[in-house]
């Protein structure tokens, strides 16, 4: 008989441990969610607003299904449109081969899914601009005390500014400066992305500066002994050493950016989730509240997912602490 096989009692202990683990990590949150949903549906039916009762969980879930159906229906209409257009063009060209035919684009309204995609695109463009500005600036701040002191007042003053204060300035500047004949991007899109960038670059800037400034002196001594060039010092020593804190900054920046985006889209009328919430609010139909609540859960869920992705990236670049 093998001596390593678990005896009867230790197998029971193991089973107990697994059950306890599952209960704590899945059972407790599930219970909390269930309690919340019950309380919500209990309270919702008693609260009356100008257009009916506050929607409960089932109404909101129902509305989410409706939005998905709308999306599918809209896609169907779009493909039908293009199919009809192709047929018509063929018929037109058969009748008059010299005639000039112009294809039209489908002018349907964006669906809820389209709006989510627009929001994601906007936040990534804004986040990208913020990162491209903040990381190099943060490196210079971390390397030079003088530069850091010079830039500090601006950081302190601009950091707490609300996106709603930036937006009018940005919109006016974008209208004045961005007037190409064939615009690649909507003005609203650019304004929203820039506002996201303005509000989300600070955590990256501050954390990068901190990461670079707090590099182990020994690493810099290695660079000095080897006489690394400035370029090699930055890319082989400084940036890798500061990477964990840079990613901490980027993670914070992305969550700030996502939060700011909704407000920016509301005001700039960028066709994303922010505009969706605003339009529903202006509609004032009986589904308004349920639709806005779907948007709230979508925003929360996507924010959570983005944070998890950044967390995974952060873990991947943090050296030496993966052993636990």
């Amino acid at each position: 008989m093998s001596t390593t096989a678990p005896s009867g009692s230790s197998r029971v202990e193991l089973f107990d441990a697994v059950v306890r683990y599952l209960f704590l990590n899945l059972g407790v949150p599930a219970l909390a969610v269930a309690l919340f949903l019950a309380a919500w549906s209990g309270v919702a039916s008693t609260v009356k607003v100008s257009f009916g009762a506050l929607p409960g969980p089932s109404a909101v879930a129902n509305e989410a299904g409706n939005l998905w159906q709308d999306h599918l229906a809209e896609r169907q209409r779009e493909s039908d449109f293009y199919k009809r257009q192709t047929e018509r063009r063929a018929a037109f060209l058969a009748k008059s081969p010299q005639g000039e035919w112009k294809d039209r684009r489908y002018a349907g309204r964006p669906t809820y899914i389209d709006q989510i995609v627009t929001s994601l695109k906007t936040v990534f463009v804004g986040f990208l601009i913020a990162s491209l500005v903040a990381v190099p600036l943060g490196v210079v701040c971390g390397l030079s005390r003088a530069f850091n002191t010079a830039i500090n007042p601006f950081v302190q003053i601009f950091k707490p500014v609300s996106p709603l204060a930036w937006l009018p300035i940005v919109m006016i500047l974008v209208s004045a400066l961005y007037n190409p004949t064939e615009p690649l991007f909507e003005k609203a899109f650019i304004s929203s992305a820039i506002v996201v960038a303005l509000c989300s670059l600070w955590p990256t800037l501050i954390n990068t500066a901190l990461g670079v400034a707090s590099i182990d002196q020994d690493f810099l001594n290695v660079a000095r002994v080897l006489r690394l060039s400035w370029f090699d010092k930055i890319f082989k020593i400084v940036l890798p050493a500061a990477l964990p804190l840079i990613f901490t900054g980027l993670r914070l920046s992305l969550s700030v950016g996502w939060m700011v985006l909704i407000a920016a889209e509301m005001l700039a009328q960028n066709p994303g989730l922010g505009k969706f919430v605003w339009d529903m609010f202006q509609n004032g139909s009986s589904q308004t509240l349920a639709q806005i609540m779907v948007a709230v859960f979508t925003i929360g869920g996507i924010g959570f997912l983005l944070d998890r992705i950044m967390f995974a990236l952060q873990r991947a670049v943090t050296f030496g602490r993966t052993a636990h």
Partner: protein, 301 residues
């Protein structure tokens, strides 16, 4: 003219208002191919002294010369083995050595550099750990990487700043022996800093005590005539070894006699005088008086 020379060097560190003259009137001459060990107390300024040679710290007065030319900054001709290894934690064993080799031997082909790195990893018996990151290695293995990295850039002088100080006694003995074997192959100039007289005597041609600080300075150098190759086990029974060790230890102990033995501690009293609670008036309450006061007392032992 000596190969490597320090003349009348001194260094003072300032911290707030306090200034401490760590090293005073340091004079040192080292011949090419010599293995010199400097033994001293912790905190006596040993690292500052070796950093004069590496160029990471410049002396306030005096000069540091390599073949008669002043040393103005660090460079790969003087390889340093740091006490805390200073390995880059995001690079593998290979990567850490490659960083140094790629920089110093730029003119070599990629293949030649790779072979050179592999050879040095093999030299310190780390081939199986070639792709491991520093945090996956034990202290002794990390120090081996550090030794390999320094030797791979083929420096003219090897500076070792308490290289085995952070290791347990058994690992330390193994690494001392290994390092000696590697050194005996090409007999580079070595300056070893240590707080362990045994280690100094085991490894060096000449041991120089550094007196206890502040104002630490070098004592008379003690030549070690024990035959090489030396084995620790044999030395423990050697009469000469014991004789030299007694000499070094006596000198160091005497040098610290001028320091008062004992503990100094600062008592930081609350920065406030109690309020007078007998004052009755509401309008003229006496404010609590603050005064900065630090009382220093010395406990004689």
């Amino acid at each position: 003219m000596a190969f490597l020379e320090i003349k009348h060097a001194s260094k003072t560190y300032h911290s707030g208002r306090a200034r401490t003259e760590v090293l005073a009137d340091i004079n040192l001459e080292i011949a090419e191919g010599e293995f010199v060990a400097i033994v001293g107390y912790s905190g006596a300024g040993k690292s500052t002294l070796i950093n004069f040679l590496s160029g990471l710290v410049a002396p306030d007065t005096g000069s540091v010369l390599l073949e008669g030319k002043p040393i103005t900054g660090p460079g790969p001709d003087r390889g340093i083995i740091f006490q805390n290894y200073s390995l880059l934690p995001w690079l593998s064993v290979f990567g850490n050595i490659a960083l140094a080799v790629d920089q110093v031997h730029r003119d070599w082909s990629a293949d030649r550099r790779r072979q050179h790195i592999e050879r040095h990893i093999a030299m310190v018996n780390l081939t199986p750990a070639r792709d491991k990151k520093p945090h996956e290695l034990s202290g002794g293995m990390r120090q081996r990487v550090s030794v390999a990295r320094t030797l791979a850039i083929n420096p003219r002088i090897l500076l070792m700043d308490e290289p085995f100080g952070a290791l347990d006694a058994l690992t330390r003995a193994t690494l001392q022996q290994e390092t000696l074997q590697i050194w005996e192959a090409d007999r580079k100039t070595v300056v070893l800093i240590t707080n362990d007289p045994d280690e100094a005597i085991l490894m060096a041609d000449r041991v120089i005590p550094l007196t206890a600080g502040p104002r630490a300075t070098l004592g008379p150098s003690i030549p070690i005539t024990l035959p090489r190759p030396r084995r620790r086990a044999e030395l423990n029974a050697s009469y000469d070894f014991k004789q030299i060790r007694a000499e070094v230890t006596d000198y160091l102990l005497k040098s610290s006699d001028h320091r008062r033995l004992g503990v100094q501690r600062s008592l930081i009293l609350p920065d406030i005088e109690p309020e007078n609670l007998n004052t009755r008036s509401w309008t003229s309450t006496r404010r609590p008086v603050r005064r900065s006061e630090v009382k220093t007392e010395t406990i004689e032992t």
